[in-house]
């Protein structure tokens, strides 16, 4: 499969009053055509910052970005904002967590949607409107002809998220980044939206990234998963391998802390005690060591590198579960 998107040693720092805040500390990831990569991390792990910085949505005096972000053969990180913009929508598109605020509340759905097609694809207004209806039908919206006359606040959260998805795929991007696409939605609607995203990826052959805090969501909908902790990838593998053959104690702890429908009721939850390290202070050793049940002296003094056993399953741990390294 061809590689469509690649982050190479991406680092993002913020200048704060307390000092430099390391939000992303050198992340390397690739997305291939037609594949879905799941990025899993808790709040503060840097998952959202990483994609916003890579897309060029996060820049300015107080943000330092280093490394490389390649879209096909193009380097995005060093490009001027105006030039990056031409790739948005056509090559790489995003779906955001909050469909309530991502749409313009004072314009009708049809008009704000068609504008994108007119500007990006040079379509005539009428043709663009017809295409909008077609796209809304593609994301399984009921009565798309009536919908284009409505304002965002007349739609439910799930419908708004479908509109966002339709807008994101309008110019047939090669990569779709979905940042917590279903967090604001109810579970029955979440199931529908995830199904829609997976179907669209298959029919359009896009590369897709789903960023989420919920391992349950990516289990059924991704080909590979990268687990983020304190701004670093701590484990990455094919989805089935990650679950069947978990190496990193953090990933295991995260899995154990999820209440499950097939678990025994009344059981005690397995919490992870403590909290992630402060992103401002410098920490030596493994970032997870203070919360890890298996930590030894080496873990507290030396920072582990991300190593691969040669089977595409990489982890950042000196004493992985199940051995090796």
């Amino acid at each position: 499969m061809t590689e469509v998107f690649r982050l190479e040693d991406l680092k993002v720092q913020f200048a704060t009053r307390r000092g430099k805040l390391n939000a992303v500390r050198g992340v390397t990831l690739t997305v291939r055509a037609g594949e879905c990569l799941g990025i899993v991390g808790e709040s503060g792990s840097g998952k959202t910052v990483m994609w916003r910085a890579a897309m060029g949505l996060l820049r300015g005096k107080k943000v330092t970005r280093t490394g490389s972000v390649r879209l096909g053969d193009v380097e995005l990180l060093t490009m001027a904002p105006k030039q990056v913009r031409q790739f948005w929508g056509t090559e790489i598109a995003m779906v955001f967590q909050d469909p309530m605020t991502a749409l313009n509340p004072v314009r009708r759905i049809g008009s704000q949607f068609a504008e994108a097609l007119v500007k990006r694809k040079g379509m005539k207004k009428e043709a663009a409107m017809a295409r909008v209806v077609e796209l809304l039908r593609l994301v399984r919206m009921p009565e798309p002809e009536l919908l284009v006359r409505k304002y965002p606040l007349q739609l439910s959260g799930g419908m708004r998220q479908r509109v966002m998805i339709a807008m994101a795929i309008a110019c047939e991007p090669k990569v779709l980044l979905a940042d917590e696409p279903t967090t604001a939605l109810d579970v029955t609607v979440q199931a529908q939206v995830l199904e829609l995203l997976s179907d669209l990826r298959e029919t359009l052959g896009m590369g897709m990234v789903i960023v989420t805090h919920d391992l349950g969501i990516v289990a059924g909908h991704s080909d590979r998963i990268a687990v983020l902790y304190a701004g670093e990838v701590v484990e990455t593998a094919a989805t089935k391998d990650l679950f069947a053959n978990t190496k990193m104690p953090y990933t295991q702890a995260l899995l154990n802390s999820i209440p499950r429908l097939d678990g025994a009721p009344g059981d005690r939850m397995q919490a992870i005690d403590g909290a992630p390290p402060d992103p401002v202070s410098e920490t030596t050793g493994c970032f997870f060591a203070p919360r890890c049940n298996f930590a030894q002296d080496k873990c507290r003094n030396e920072h582990p590198e991300l190593v691969d056993d040669g089977d595409g399953h990489a982890y950042r741990c000196f004493f992985p579960l199940g051995g090796r390294r």
Binding site: D186, V187, A191, A219, G220, S257, P259, P265, R268, Q270
Partner: protein, 325 residues
């Protein structure tokens, strides 16, 4: 008048009968809670589960008399809260306390943690200064916070999980019989969520509490409750044990809800969404059974006649003309 699932009057600490709560809107009155009955016996955890807009939070607020009800009765130890007002209502309140979803904003940012936890004791004139001090230290320790470190700080210095623990300590300071928890863990990360659920369970044991636990998360509900009420569009559609709820749901909506929960196991493959669409508007609910517009088993009878709760197996009640079991 669906009250078949209520237990004999003497057994329950809290007994809610046919509660109706309405909100005025421009489009007319919205009946957010429509004829809901439930009861909680001593030492029990009763969960109310449903999607956004089903009326579960309104139900909690209606029980607490934080908002007025249109009709119905709320018995706490045999006294009808709905008939009380003024000082009599105030005096009944120490027995029933509540914690909220957004723990950070539900604590006064100007008060120190010690003052926050001590406040209910002061209001009710319990103990001397020294006794109250010891009690606060003890409460903070029981929610796994170090009084020496946290007592003189303000809520803004703490994370969501820590604030939720402070809220729990505060709510339990006057030793209520019932703690109403409105989505206490839904804004927290999974690892922190597990910590809070464990603390709630510990507190339940230690103080002999009964819990009314409002949540949208079936997996959480299954893990901690003894009895579950499923709500849809302002009505209770199923009452069950957590085991039966997931193994053999009787209502088609419960089934849809259970099948939509993402399971962190990639070997299960992608599961198809069982229901399509979203709940209809509560301003104009469907006639008969409220779920019929999305239900795969709906017939003419469902539109004509509203189903009442009836027992389909011991401890399992369903309001459906064509139940799955």
């Amino acid at each position: 008048m669906s009250t078949a699932h209520l237990r004999p009057v003497g057994q329950a600490i809290l007994r809610v009968e046919n509660l109706v709560v309405e909100y005025p809107t421009r489009a007319g009155k919205v009946r957010a809670v429509s004829d809901v009955s439930l009861d909680v016996v001593a030492g029990e955890t009763v969960a109310v589960v449903g999607e956004s807009g089903c009326g579960k939070s309104t139900l909690a607020k209606g029980i607490m008399r934080l908002i007025p009800s249109v009709s119905g009765r709320v018995f706490l130890n045999g006294t009808d809260l709905a008939s009380l007002s003024g000082e009599a209502l105030r005096c009944a309140r120490p027995n029933i306390q509540m914690i909220f979803q957004d723990s950070i904003s539900s604590l006064d940012p100007h008060l120190r943690v010690r003052e926050l936890v001590e406040q209910p004791l002061k209001v009710w004139g319990r103990g001397t200064d020294a006794e109250r001090r010891d009690k606060v230290d003890d409460l903070l320790r029981s929610v796994k916070l170090d009084p020496g470190v946290v007592a003189d700080r303000k809520p803004t210095e703490f994370s969501g999980g820590q604030c939720q623990r402070i809220s729990i300590a505060r709510a339990l300071s006057i030793e209520p019989q019932i703690l109403v928890c409105d989505e206490p863990v839904s804004s927290l990360d999974v690892s922190i969520q597990a910590q809070i659920l464990n603390i709630i369970q510990d507190m339940k044991q230690r103080y002999g509490l009964s819990l009314l636990f409002i949540s949208h998360d079936l997996a959480v509900v299954r893990a901690i409750s003894d009895r579950v009420c499923v709500m849809y569009l302002g009505k209770v559609c199923e009452v069950s044990t957590p085991q039966r709820l997931t193994s053999s749901p009787a209502h088609h909506y419960t089934h849809a809800l259970v099948s939509a929960v993402p399971i962190p196991d990639p070997t299960l493959g992608r599961r198809r969404a069982v229901v399509q669409g979203e709940p209809p508007s509560p301003t104009n609910p469907p006639s008969g059974c409220r779920f019929r517009t999305r239900c795969p088993a709906a017939t003419e009878q469902c539109a004509a006649e509203e189903p009442q709760l009836r027992e389909v197996s011991p401890g399992q009640f369903v309001a459906c003309h064509h139940p799955r079991v």
